[in-house]
């Protein structure tokens, strides 16, 4: 009976087009697009070296030169971020094309970025320029009201630029934000398992569907039907996650070198996704449409909180209500990957794994209670 149920649940899973699209195709497509959008970050040399910048002084801008000055002076003998040379337009551009300089900056009232050699350098120089332009209005205000404060503003600016550059160039931990996006995509894929599971438990829940009625009158207990379906879904979902991880790695996303350690995480993550869907699907008072809506918003919402769409939410939560990050499965999944690649110990990795398992068990226990009480007053 178990095998029989399992076999058909498995068949349904792999034929459920909507579920396959959401859990497999969509994350893979999103991952590919992001990878292309971020350019060849992973191809370029991550080891930081001083950037040679040619500056074309169309019009003198003392504030900007002050900043350049800051950035080309090393702290206590360390390597400086920039090496600046002032040139005329023609030589600067020719030199950059030849490879003598990494980038050209045009200095004027507005600062603009010219030719650059490669993407990673362009990223850094552009961020300098952008940070500057953003801060200019602020500097203007400070300059008017309190000229003595200018150096303070400039040094804040140069600090933030330096910080950016050093984050950009961490080599051993893959802590860059790009990798975080891919972690979030994998977490999303896990949680999207909730779609198929919601559908499944609805077809098992007596009050929710005619199929549920038919299965409730069978000779075979619903507990057994539920458990075998859960295993079938879990195995398919786990396979999907493994495909996702290896696909991302194959296209060149740097997920670190503990790929195999990621598998227990996605196994637990897939279980949480399916348990979440099972829970939502088993609630008797909701309509099918409402359940689908709740599944979407909950799973996507959790991923957004794990920085799927924009960076910083997760950190903000960590600083304000850290408990939310401990119970958000999307955060736990991506944080496990992060922990794997950053820390030498497995403490945080295991903590997250245990939390994920607990969440899955809690969801399943609640669904079980609901399914048992199913023989209720309303069919």
């Amino acid at each position: 009976m178990f095998i029989h149920n399992f076999k058909y649940a498995f068949k349904q899973m792999i034929r459920n087009k909507a579920a396959i699209i959401w859990t497999l195709i969509f994350p893979l497509a999103l991952g590919s697009i992001m990878f292309l959008a971020f350019g060849n970050i992973y191809d370029s040399d991550h080891v930081f070296h001083t950037l040679n910048v040619a500056v074309v002084r169309d019009e003198e801008n003392i504030y900007f030169e002050y900043l350049l000055d800051e950035l080309s002076t090393g702290d206590d003998g360390s390597e400086t971020l920039l090496n600046v040379e002032f040139l005329d337009r023609e030589n600067a551009e020719k030199g950059t094309v030849n490879g003598d300089y990494d980038a050209v900056i045009y200095e004027g009232r507005e600062i603009t970025l010219g030719v650059t050699k490669s993407d990673i350098q362009q990223e850094i120089v552009r961020s300098i320029v952008e940070q500057y332009n953003k801060t200019v209005s602020m500097i203007g205000d400070v300059a008017k009201s309190n000229p003595a404060g200018i150096p303070a503003v400039i040094s804040t600016l140069s600090d933030s630029v330096r910080g950016y550059a050093s984050q950009e160039t961490t080599t051993d931990g893959n802590t860059d934000m790009y990798t975080n996006y891919f972690y979030a995509i994998i977490a999303m894929s896990c949680l999207f398992g909730a779609y198929a599971a919601c559908d499944f438990s609805e077809k098992l829940a007596l009050a929710a569907s005619e199929l549920g009625k038919r299965r409730s009158i069978a000779r075979c207990s619903k507990g057994l039907q539920a458990v075998s379906s859960f295993f079938a879904m879990w195995i398919v979902q786990l396979a999907v996650e493994i495909i996702t991880i290896f696909y991302l790695k194959a296209i060149g996303v740097n997920l670190g070198d503990k790929i195999l350690h990621m598998i227990p995480v996605v196994a637990a993550g897939a279980a949480v996704g399916i348990a979440l869907g099972t829970l939502i699907g088993s609630v008797p008072v909701l309509s099918q449409g409402q359940k689908a809506g709740i599944t979407t918003s909950v799973s996507l919402g959790l991923c957004v909180m794990a920085d799927l769409c924009a960076e910083g939410i997760k950190d903000m939560v960590e600083h304000t209500v850290p408990i939310l990050n401990r119970i958000n499965p999307a955060v736990l999944i991506s944080d496990s990957f992060y922990a794997l690649n950053v820390f030498d110990t497995y403490e945080r990795y295991f903590r997250n794994l245990i939390l994920l398992t607990v969440i899955a068990v809690v969801f399943l226990a609640v669904s079980y209670i609901i399914l048992r009480r199913d023989r209720g007053a309303s069919i």
Binding site: M1, N16, E210, S216, R375, I379
Partner: protein
């Protein structure tokens, strides 16, 4: 007498609504038992309670002499249900659907294959084994629904309005199929709000209304219960009050309705009633046409007991 199903004083409430009001029935083994009632009279609720799909407030339910419960798997293995709405998996083919549901009862693979094949043949879906439900027409889908409910060869089968929204051809096939299952030994519980179907196939019929059992018996017994034994309709223009009074005096006539030129006369018995009417009209030299004699239907039974039509 062995009973397949016994229901005693069943009470079921949906909040304020009293869906079943001290409802009782006893279904004999081997019969086709009809549950006839208008929409909303409580037929589906009755079946759901019998199957332990629904909690009820009061009463007692026994199936094959044993108390029914959600975990009474020994009873459940002998029960098949064809629900009012189609319940199949879209991702599975016709064959797989039947095999899946059959497999919830029959573990032996070889036996199951036989049973599934029998079911496929029984509903005439041989050419559609590999089809997905989405590709089937309404009638074929109903047949698949039936196959899923009966593939495990149950001894007691519930059909809840299996012919609603089905074309006449599929409908006849379904009715014949039900009789065939019955001949093969299954006890059938058949619900419908179509009296013709119930009259056609059921050995005994329970008429229900508003959650109550209002009459039970064979088709003939039910019709014996009521006063109306024959209704004659004809067209006679311009009858006078005197004429109508005279007609009322004719033997066995107990009701006369006249809506110029339509005349309807109801009899509480007698033979050759048409002759008596025609003789009277000829005696008075009244012109008439379109004489039609109608024996009572279950609708008349329902009408006489409840004062309203069965049809909505």
């Amino acid at each position: 007498m062995k009973y397949a199903v016994e229901v005693n004083n069943l009470v079921k409430r949906y909040k304020e609504l009293l869906a079943l009001d001290h409802f009782s029935l006893a279904i004999k083994e081997g019969e086709i038992f009809g549950l006839l009632g208008p929409n909303g009279s409580g037929k589906t609720t009755t079946i759901n309670c019998i199957l332990s799909l629904l909690n009820f407030d009061k009463g007692e339910i026994r199936v094959f002499g044993e108390e029914m419960s959600p975990s009474a798997y020994d009873i459940k293995k002998n029960i098949g249900v064809v629900f009012q709405n189609v319940a199949v998996f879209d991702e599975l083919t016709v064959y797989e659907n039947i095999d899946y549901f059959c497999g919830l009862y029959i573990s032996d693979k070889k036996l199951r294959r036989e049973y599934v094949e029998d079911a496929v043949r029984f509903v005439g879906l041989e050419d559609y084994r590999k089809f997905h439900p989405k590709k089937l027409s309404g009638g074929l889908l109903r047949r698949l629904n039936i196959a899923c409910g009966i593939a495990h060869k149950p001894k007691l089968i519930f059909f809840d309005e299996p012919t609603v929204a089905v074309d006449p051809q599929s409908r006849n096939r379904i009715l014949e199929g039900i009789q065939e299952l019955n001949r093969a030994g299954a006890t059938i519980v058949y619900t419908s709000h179509y009296m013709e179907e119930v009259e056609q196939i059921c050995d005994r019929i329970l008429i229900m209304d508003k959650g109550r059992s209002i009459a039970i018996g064979t088709n003939e017994e039910l019709k014996q219960m009521i006063k109306n034994k024959e209704k004659i309709t004809l067209e006679v223009p311009s009858l006078t009050k005197d004429n109508l009074a005279e007609i009322h005096q004719i033997k066995h006539v107990y009701d006369v309705e006249y809506d110029d030129p339509f005349l309807a006369i109801t009899f509480d018995g007698g033979t050759n009633n048409v002759v008596h009417i025609v003789n009277y009209l000829e005696e008075r030299r009244l012109v008439f046409s379109g004489v039609h004699s109608q024996l009572p239907t279950l609708n008349d039974v329902f009408l006489e007991i409840t004062g309203k039509e069965l049809r909505d």
